[in-house]
C-alpha cells in the first residue's frame, strides 16, 4: 500500500475472513485531509467489527448493504470498493467477487492479462450482482487507486491515469515499491493512495550461489523432472536448453562472477512457470544469444526489474510447442 503521509479520508484494508476468505476494502471518505480522516478511522473500525461479527460465510452484497446503511445512519459520504477473495489452498487459485460504489474500478491482472476487476453500482443501487471470476490462477494482482492518484498519474484525466497505472503494473517496474515510482514531495491536489495485492503461488523457491555447478545441476534436474512428469519429454528438453541459459546470464551479466540466484517455480494447468531472479547489477539480460535460446525453447520471456536491485526473468513451459519461435 502507498499513501501520502498527510491525514486523509482514504484507507485500504486487507483482512482475513474465516479460514479461506480475504476481504479487500478501499474507501474514500468525501472531504479532504483532517476533516475526512476521523470518518475514515471510524469506518475502518466498523469494517473490522463487521468481520468479527460474522457467523456465516461472508456475502459481499450483504456487506455493501450494511455499509451503505451505516453511512446513511452516520451522515457520512464515501466512495468504496470491496472485493471478497476466496482462496483455494489446494490449487493456489482464488475466486473473486468485486463491487464498488463511486470508487474507481480497480485493475485485476492475472497472468499478464487484465480481467474486469469490479462492477460499479449507481449511487443508490447496490443490488447489482457483484462481478465475479470463479477461478483466477496465480500470479495475479489486484490494484486499487484513489481518484486523486489516478488524476495525478493522468495529469488531470482519470482514464489516462488508469492507462498509466496499467502500463506500470504490467511493465518491468511492477515489483518496485510505489514509493520509488510515486514522489511524495510533490504537493498533492487531492488524496492519493494506491493498494496492490499480489499472489504468486510458487510451489518452491530455491536460492543458491549461481557459480556452484552442483547446485545449478540439481535445480535444473529438479525442474526438468517436474516438467517431464507434467508435460512430457519435449518440454523437459526445453528446460535443459532454457534454464541453464538464464542461470548463465545471471552469472555473467548480473554479477560477473558469483552471487545468489533465486529460482522459483509452480505448476499450472498444463503449464509450468519458472522465474529466475538475482540481486545483481540489473543487467542480467541483454539481447544476446542466451535470451535467444530461452525464447526459442520456452516461448515469450518476461523480464522485469527486481527491488532493490537485480533482474527477474520468467518463462513458461507448455505455453507453446518447444522449439517454436515466438
Amino acid at each position: 500500500m502507498w499513501q501520502r503521509p498527510d491525514p486523509s479520508g482514504d484507507f485500504f484494508l486487507v483482512l482475513p475472513v474465516q479460514d479461506k476468505h480475504v476481504l479487500v476494502a478501499a474507501v474514500d471518505v468525501a472531504g479532504h485531509r483532517s476533516k475526512a480522516a476521523p470518518s475514515a478511522i471510524y469506518l475502518q473500525g466498523w469494517l473490522r467489527g463487521w468481520i468479527r461479527g460474522l457467523a456465516v460465510s461472508p456475502q459481499l452484497g450483504a456487506l455493501a448493504e450494511t455499509f451503505l446503511s451505516e453511512l446513511k445512519a452516520t451522515g457520512m459520504d464515501a466512495a468504496w470498493f470491496f472485493a471478497m477473495l476466496t482462496l483455494d489452498h489446494k490449487t493456489g487459485s482464488m475466486g473473486y467477487q468485486g463491487l464498488s460504489h463511486a470508487f474507481p474500478a480497480p485493475l485485476l491482472i492475472a497472468d499478464g492479462r487484465t480481467l474486469e476487476g469490479t462492477r460499479e453500482t449507481g449511487p443508490h443501487d447496490v443490488q447489482v450482482p457483484a462481478l465475479s471470476h470463479d477461478r483466477v490462477a496465480p500470479p495475479w494482482r489486484l490494484i486499487a487507486a484513489s481518484d486523486g492518484l489516478l488524476e495525478r498519474l493522468g495529469a488531470g484525466n482519470q482514464a489516462r491515469g488508469k492507462q498509466t497505472l496499467l502500463r506500470w503494473q504490467i511493465g518491468s517496474a511492477r515489483d518496485e515499491p510505489p514509493s520509488s515510482y510515486l514522489r511524495t514531495e510533490i504537493a498533492p491536489d487531492d488524496d492519493e493512495a494506491l493498494m496492490v495485492v499480489t499472489w504468486n503461488g510458487w510451489d518452491e523457491t530455491l536460492e543458491f550461489p549461481v557459480a556452484d555447478d552442483a547446485q545449478r545441476h540439481r535445480v535444473v534436474r529438479l525442474v526438468r523432472e517436474r516438467v517431464k512428469a507434467l508435460l512430457g519429454n519435449a518440454q523437459a528438453v526445453a528446460v535443459d536448453e532454457a534454464l541453464p541459459e538464464a542461470l548463465e546470464n545471471v552469472h555473467k551479466h548480473a554479477y560477473g562472477s558469483d552471487g545468489p540466484v533465486i529460482v522459483r517455480f509452480r505448476q499450472e494447468d498444463q503449464r509450468f512457470r519458472v522465474e529466475v531472479a538475482d540481486r545483481g547489477r540489473g543487467t542480467a539480460v541483454t539481447e544476446g544469444g542466451g535470451l535467444k535460446v530461452m525464447r526459442h525453447w520456452a516461448g515469450p520471456v518476461d523480464i522485469r526489474r527486481a527491488y532493490p536491485s537485480g533482474t527477474i526473468v520468467s518463462f513458461t513451459f507448455g505455453a507453446q510447442k518447444a522449439g517454436e519461435i515466438e
Binding site: D213, D240, P244, E245, E248, G289, G323
Partner: protein, 113 residues
Amino acid sequence: MTGSDRPYEIQPPGDGVVVTFAEYVDHVRTPEHDSELDGLVESHQLVICDLSGSRKVTSDWLRFLLRLSVRAKRMGKRVAIVGMKENVKETSDMIGLGGGLDLYSSLEEARTM
C-alpha cells in the same frame, strides 16, 4: 543424470587430442577452462571436441568452441567438433555460429579429413 563435476575430460593424446564433453555442458566457464583448452590448441595440430554424449551445451560454451576453432585456423590448425546432437546444432545455428564450426559425425571422420 545432470552434469558432471567437470564440463569435459581430456583423453590421453593419440592421433589428435580428444576432449570429451559431459552430458550437460552448462557449467560456469572459468579462466582455468579457457587456458587449459587454449593450451591444447597451442600444442596440438588437431583438437577433437567430442560432443556425441552431450545433450546440452550452453550458448556460452558454444561461443567459446567457435573462438577456439577460429584461433586454431589462424595458426593453421584444426578444432573438429564431433557428434553434435540436433538440438545443440539448433542452438548453435540460432546464435549465429552455424557455419563457423567444423562438424564431423565420427572421430574417424574428424581424423581423416
